[in-house]
């Protein structure tokens, strides 16, 4: 392409690599892949500056299918590789791909630290509540009682809520979406990409082979509408088939409750308005679970602060601005003596 050519508008195909996609038929990962490949051209992403970096797991095969830079690392450590890469080249747009096992079991600590440091990356956690690649053992997000090869009598561990882990670690962008909800997932990813600093996106993902329908209550057309709250900043938190349900703060308490507009004198004005910048609210929303509450989807928290990589490099730049280092000078600094 000569410099005078108008920049070529990229399409989904430009983001697809030549490798056969090797997930099981029906795996939710396909839908996520398609959404990203469709979304990146819409934000004029540059394949040469885009990096997908993953750990190990079915989900972590993702980078192979993107015609960008890709790095399939080792189990759980993707955030650490990403941090080093970002400190080296802050211009790269880095997407970390991880699973509930990769990111919350072996990699829980790195996830926590990349978030609290606020490195400018997007971290997508594909949560199928199971270890896919190793054939179906329970994961840190599996529900109590799940029978799996390693828990034949049902699992006992209390599952973690990924968004709560992220919030507890001090994450500043926390969102949640669903593999097959392309129209929701796409914009959520765009918002994450726009956020400077670390963004955390949990994606509810189906594994038809080992944990089929784990999110059926959220995804099914029937149940879904009543079981899902689509968050919008500045909008009252209303949901339900008839858009008649809403969230309210129990008077003078710290608890949420679901109320029905039109019942008991409740009006839209009583409904709590979503505020993306309110961290305590994000904690409450993150913890909501069906059937008592709807599952909150969308941006739970967006509370930007300077990114780690920028601050690190600013210290380096400051130091260099005050005078580039000279090795000879360094070696000759302090006490020296000369022998003739």
């Amino acid at each position: 392409m000569s410099p005078s050519d108008p920049p070529k508008k990229l399409t989904r195909k430009d983001f697809a690599s030549d490798q056969d996609v090797r997930w099981c038929p029906g795996c939710g990962d396909y839908a996520i892949l398609a959404t990203i490949q469709r979304t990146l051209p819409t934000v004029n992403a540059d394949p040469a500056k885009t990096v997908f970096l993953s750990g190990i797991g079915c989900s972590s095969r993702f980078p192979y299918y993107m015609n960008t830079y890709g790095f399939h690392s080792i189990h759980g450590r993707a955030p650490a590789f990403a941090t080093g890469l970002k400190l080296t080249n802050p211009e790269l747009d880095i997407w970390i791909i991880t699973g509930d096992g990769d990111g919350l079991s072996i990699g829980g600590n790195h996830l926590m630290h990349v978030l609290r440091r606020n490195v400018d990356v997007q971290l997508m956690l594909f949560n199928n509540r199971i270890y896919g690649l190793t054939k179906g053992q329970y994961s840190p997000t599996s529900l109590v009682g799940l029978r799996s090869p390693s828990t034949p009598k049902g699992s006992i561990d209390m599952p973690v809520v990924p968004a709560l882990i992220a919030l507890g670690a001090g994450a500043r962008f926390v969102a949640r979406s669903v593999d097959t909800l392309a129209k929701h997932l796409g914009p959520t990813l765009v918002a994450a990409r726009e956020h400077r600093g670390a963004s955390f996106i949990e994606i509810l993902q189906n594994c038809p082979v080992f944990n089929d329908d784990t999110w059926a209550h959220v995804k099914s057309k029937e149940a879904g509408a009543d079981a899902v709250l689509l968050l919008e900043h500045g909008k009252p938190m209303i949901f339900g088939k008839e858009k008649s349900k809403g969230l309210r703060l129990k008077p003078n308490s710290l608890e949420l409750e679901v109320v029905t507009i039109g019942e008991d004198g409740i009006t839209e004005a009583d409904i709590l308005v979503h505020d993306e910048t309110n961290r305590p609210m994000a904690f409450l929303l993150a913890g909501m679970e069906p059937p008592t509450f709807p599952m909150a989807l969308g941006v739970l928290l967006r509370d930007p602060a300077p990114a780690y990589d920028a601050a690190v490099l600013a210290q380096v730049a400051d130091a260099q601005a005050a005078g580039e280092g000279d090795i000879d000078q360094l070696l000759n600094s302090g006490h020296t003596w000369t022998i003739e």
Partner: protein, 619 residues
């Protein structure tokens, strides 16, 4: 102005070993390093060995809270901090107790009698005050002084309060020792004034104590048999010198490598004794474009370094043995990715947490073999503090030229020990500029190899047209894609091995450090045992023995010609500060009955120990 006995009144000595020992809070490391600096300026060759406790501030007066600093200086070139001290400075009973056993017969003992009070004696485990035991004292030449009282007197005018005033007692002691060996106080004075520029009272008190100690030597009548000494200048190669510790040399060498290669240096590290100070040193070099990242653990540290390497930086991680044990999986990934990476292992006493502040060479086999699968990587080892500078550059050169992680071994002894070091000039160092591909070459794939080095291209993210995917699964030789093909795996394993083995062509051939290429006995060492072995071999040769020394700075691959060299000797011994590791490798490689001389005490070899081993193995 300092006054000295005239030169002819001083007894000239060829070499002296002094050990300063006291409580951790007594400032012995400072005392030692100030004595070192002045001694270096006087033109002696020297070597030092600081030895401090594992505790941050062990309770005062305990034996495990004793901190020591040994300096060996001479009128000729020397290579070790000395086997046994000629002079022991003991600031309290615990220091006396733990160090007196090493003092030479008839050695000079300078002891702070003011600290020999009941509580301290008890903590040190003395039932009786040894300073009142004539039989004991008669074994040495003793200067028994209440240094505390003298210090208090010297600084009284500054009204610092007893506690603060007593802090200067190390300077009083230093003053006395400087006088004994004909050294001036002015360098220390200058240093104190700079260090305490913001606390002039403290500076003045310390200077006063220093000068009082010096003056004491001058004016007081020393016990008979104790005089003033001088150690004439050594004949050292011309040049500008400085003292340097291994960890500083390592940090600076890595920075120099970054300049020589044109790469940005990115360090991922997690603090661990005795490696932390490399992180500290590099953190101060931001004006060199150095980026340091204190990661959440060792695994994250090495992973960040690998991420940085992929991005086109000189990715480095620094650690000690337990850290390397954690990094194995990620280093294996770097081997599979064929990316540069420098892993610096500042070894310490193991296994497990072991003896964190003590030195050892027991990570060698871990360095060579400690990863899953067939995972070969070059292993280099520095042999002196100053050599850490050069080996850091060499590690970087090999790493980027061959696209491979490299392990660089040093140890606690090199890390903290200082030696006078002839400062090299950047202009004399060979640059090894790296260029990243920018155009998509015909048939590009990430595992396309340079036919000579077998290195793959270092294509970095951000480059249009070179988008590619890498990872830890086996790669197809011809496309770089994932491959589970049996023959391909065999071929790739052999290729990775051949790449590392091929580096042998690019390193200096094996040659004796001391001695001829054949003889009765060959002493093969590696790492920080260099000085002790060299000295021992020299002495043996001076006594007419047919002994030579080979010292390895490259352990994987071994230098070319080593096998032939070995074949020229009747016997091979391998002194190591471990239970026999290099000897295992040499035995396997050359089928030579190499005999291990093993010391696993957390302490460096004494020259005499190696001399003894040489003699026994010649017999």
């Amino acid at each position: 102005m300092d006054t000295f006995p005239k030169a002819q009144e001083r007894e000239a000595l060829e070499s002296v070993v002094i050990r300063f020992a006291g409580d951790s809070g007594d400032g012995m490391q400072l005392t030692g390093s100030q004595f070192t600096n002045t001694t270096a300026l006087m033109g002696n060759d020297l070597a030092t060995f600081p030895d401090f406790p594992a505790e941050i501030r062990a309770p005062a007066g305990t034996t495990y809270g004793v901190s020591g600093f040994q300096i060996h200086f001479a009128a000729h070139d020397i290579m070790t901090p000395g086997d046994e001290p000629d002079v022991l400075v003991a600031m309290n009973p615990a220091a006396l107790k733990t160090n007196i056993g090493d003092l030479k017969e008839r050695g000079l003992l300078i002891v702070n009698s003011g600290a020999f009070i009941k509580g301290n004696l008890k903590k040190a485990g003395y039932a009786e005050n040894p300073l009142e035991d004539e039989a004991f004292l008669s074994q040495y030449r003793v200067i028994k002084l209440d240094i505390q009282a003298m210090t208090l007197a010297a600084v009284a005018e500054f009204e610092l309060g007893t506690k603060n005033a007593l802090r200067s007692k190390n300077m009083w002691t230093l003053g006395l020792v400087l006088w004994l060996f004909g050294r001036e106080t002015k360098h220390t004075v200058a240093w104190l004034e700079q260090k305490f520029a913001k606390k002039p009272d403290i500076a003045k008190a310390n200077v006063a104590a220093l000068k009082a100690g010096h003056a004491y030597g001058e004016t007081a009548e020393l016990p008979s048999g104790i005089g003033a000494y001088e150690v004439p200048k050594a004949k050292l190669p011309a040049g500008t010198y400085r003292n340097i510790t291994g960890n500083d040399a390592l940090a600076w060498g890595l920075t120099a490598a970054s300049k020589l290669s044109g790469l940005k240096l990115v360090l991922g590290s997690y603090p661990i004794t005795p490696a932390s100070s490399v992180l500290h040193a590099l953190a101060k070099l931001k004006h060199f474009g150095v980026t340091t990242f204190q990661a959440e653990d060792e695994i994250a540290a090495v992973c960040a370094a690998v991420g940085a390497s992929w991005g086109g930086a000189l990715g480095i991680t620094t650690t000690s043995g337990p850290g390397v044990a954690l990094k194995g999986e990620a280093i294996g990934l770097a081997i599979m990715l064929e990316l540069p990476l420098i892993v610096c292992d500042i070894q310490r006493g193991g296994p497990s947490t072991g003896m964190p502040t003590k030195t050892e060479q027991s990570d060698l086999l871990q360095a060579v073999y400690g990863r899953n699968g067939d995972a070969p990587m070059p292993v280099l080892a520095a042999c002196t503090p100053g050599d850490c500078f050069f080996m850091a550059i060499e590690a970087a050169r090999i790493s980027v030229k061959y696209m491979t992680p490299v392990m660089l071994l040093t140890d606690g002894y090199l890390a903290n020990g200082a030696e006078p070091w002839k400062i090299p000039a950047m202009a004399d160092l060979e640059p090894f500029p790296v260029s990243f591909p920018t155009e998509r070459p015909e048939g590009f794939h990430p595992y396309l190899r340079d036919p000579e080095t077998l290195a793959r291209p270092w294509a970095i993210p951000g480059t249009p047209g070179l988008e590619h995917r890498i990872g830890g699964l086996e790669k197809d030789f011809d496309s770089g894609n994932i491959s589970y093909d049996p023959d391909n795996h065999h071929k790739m394993t052999k290729t990775r091995a051949a790449k590392v083995a091929g580096i042998a062509k690019d390193i200096p051939a094996a040659a004796p450090e001391v001695g001829e290429t054949s003889g009765d006995l060959l002493v093969i060492g590696w790492g920080s045992t260099y000085g002790a072995i060299t000295q021992a071999v020299r002495r043996a040769r001076a006594a007419g023995k047919k002994v030579s020394q080979v010292h390895l700075r490259y352990i994987n691959p071994l230098p070319p010609g080593l096998g032939e060299l070995i074949a020229g000797f009747d016997k091979v011994i391998v002194p190591e500060m471990n239970n026999g590791m290099l000897s295992k490798i040499l035995r396997s490689e050359f089928l030579v009955d190499a005999v291990g001389i093993n010391k696993i005490s957390g302490q460096p070899f004494k020259v005499s120990e190696i001399q003894k081993a040489i003699e026994e193995n010649l017999a």
